[in-house]
């Protein structure tokens, strides 16, 4: 049964692959995979990483599928072993994947990862003729669930009670008032 079809992954995924800036590597499909491999490797090692938003969005399904392969098929499967070997070039990470990360998600349905958006960062690029050049980056946090770090969102914000959105505030208050009546 090991080669049987896998279930869907529980993350949003575009219908085509997006291009990524590959900084230094000549842009190609190979370079894109190389960038994603770095992200996936880093994410498995550190469990929570801060990235450019578009890269985090692109890397998340790869990480998710890799964990799913481990959960559904186990380390003995040929395809899984091949994929783990390529996506996690450091040997200790393959061991970590099978012995630490996969057991967390046994018998649990996807998603196994989370993605959060941080406020955009403005960074100074360079100064030319006393003019400052700034650039804005969209930042995201990609993490593997059930990691040992404190949660990104507090208990209240997960329940939508700390939302800065005026509409959310009004609706929560209105519902509360109605319940008290």
């Amino acid at each position: 049964m090991s080669s049987a079809t896998l279930p869907r992954i529980g993350v949003t995924i575009g219908h085509v692959a997006q291009k990524l800036k590959t900084g230094g590597i000549e842009p190609s499909r190979r370079a894109r995979l190389e960038v994603l491999r770095r992200i996936v490797t880093r994410c498995v090692r550190e469990e929570r990483v801060e990235l450019k938003w578009n890269r985090a969005v692109e890397a998340r399904p790869y990480l998710e599928r890799l964990i799913q392969l481990g959960v559904e098929r186990g380390p003995l499967d040929e395809y899984t072993a091949e994929m783990m070997e390529w996506w996690l070039p450091e040997r200790d990470l393959i061991v970590k994947m099978h012995e630490v990360i996969v057991p967390r998600f046994a018998e649990i349905q996807s998603p196994y990862t989370s993605l959060y958006r941080l406020p955009p960062k403005r960074l100074q690029q360079f100064i030319q003729n006393k003019r400052e050049f700034w650039k804005r980056y969209d930042i995201g946090i990609l993490e593997i669930d059930k990691n040992p770090f404190p949660p990104v969102l507090s208990e209240n914000s997960a329940k939508n009670e700390e939302s800065p959105n005026l509409l959310n505030l009004l609706l929560t208050d209105a519902l509360k008032n109605n319940l008290e009546k």
Partner: protein
């Protein structure tokens, strides 16, 4: 009522996948469902016509549903046996312009492509020294009979390279007796490695990484070796997990389709119209 609306809001937020912390705590239900239905492990290979399009923006739930109903109706009228790429298949189709009014062709199935009602398969045989390939639409109503003479697989899921192989690899006897496959045993894999004719070929088979070709490189003359040097090596593409996921089938879809087929069969059997079975797997049979 408002109490209920708040309750439903909370229950929604506990399942919503866009809220990362509260999502992902449900147990694996689809596996249980697949076991319950008796999901056929080789479903994508036996029923490639029931899969979804690999191009996501061509998927249309309504179109797929309507086509599936037509396909099931057709399968109640004609027995479509299980066959794979590499199996030897005989197709009898009616042709009003022939004296005999029907035409039987025997050959090796080299390709199965497209989904839904447009599903096609191609048979190849050598007749009087000339290679002949016939592409049949699986749901063409002029097809009278499809028989699997020998149920087996090859090393590849696409045998298009037989067009450039020596003719002995695609020569099959038209009067071949059908070979019964013992139920419950796995489908045998024929590990023949074909020898290609000297280049030029119709396509550059050496860069596709076909497992069923024996050493295509050493037989080539130096002139072709220079010309056909490896330029487009893209063997890293197999590591693109998500590309494979986008093209592949999902368990959810297969289970849903299998349920639909079972329901359709049961309805027809209960009505006493037919005893024909659509859902069959030689390897999973008991």
């Amino acid at each position: 009522m408002l109490r209920r609306s708040l309750g439903s809001l909370r229950s929604f937020s506990s399942k919503c996948k866009s809220e990362p912390q509260t999502a992902s705590k449900s147990s694996n239900t689809i596996r249980k469902e697949a076991n319950l239905v008796g999901h056929i492990a080789a479903f994508p290979e036996i029923y490639p016509d029931f899969l979804q399009s690999p191009v996501w923006n061509r998927r249309n739930a309504l179109k797929e549903e309507l086509e599936r109903r037509d396909m099931l109706e057709r399968r109640m009228n004609i027995d479509i046996p299980e066959f794979y790429v590499g199996s030897i298949v005989a197709v009898t189709s009616s042709d009003s312009n022939l004296g005999a009014k029907e035409h039987r062709f025997v050959g090796i199935c080299i390709r199965r492509e497209k989904e839904g009602l447009h599903h096609q398969f191609t048979l190849r045989n050598t007749i009087e020294g000339i290679g002949v390939e016939i592409m049949y639409d699986l749901y063409n109503p002029t097809i009278k009979k499809i028989e699997t003479l020998k149920l087996e697989k090859r090393l590849d899921s696409d045998l298009s390279y037989l067009i450039d192989a020596l003719p002995e690899y695609s020569t099959f006897d038209f009067h071949m007796e059908p070979l019964a496959h013992p139920a419950g045993t796995p489908i045998p894999i024929n590990e023949t490695k074909v020898k290609l004719k000297p280049a030029p070929w119709t396509r550059r088979w050496e860069i596709f990484g076909c497992a069923g070709i024996e050493d295509s490189w050493s037989g080539a003359t130096p002139w072709f070796k220079r010309k056909l040097q490896k330029t487009k090596v893209n063997d890293y593409e197999k590591y693109d997990l998500v590309a494979a996921y986008r093209e592949g089938s999902t368990l959810e879809h297969e289970v849903a389709v299998q349920k639909q087929i079972q329901k359709f069969e049961n309805e027809r059997h209960a009505a006493g119209l037919t005893r024909r079975r659509i859902l069959r797997s030689a390897a999973a049979a008991k």
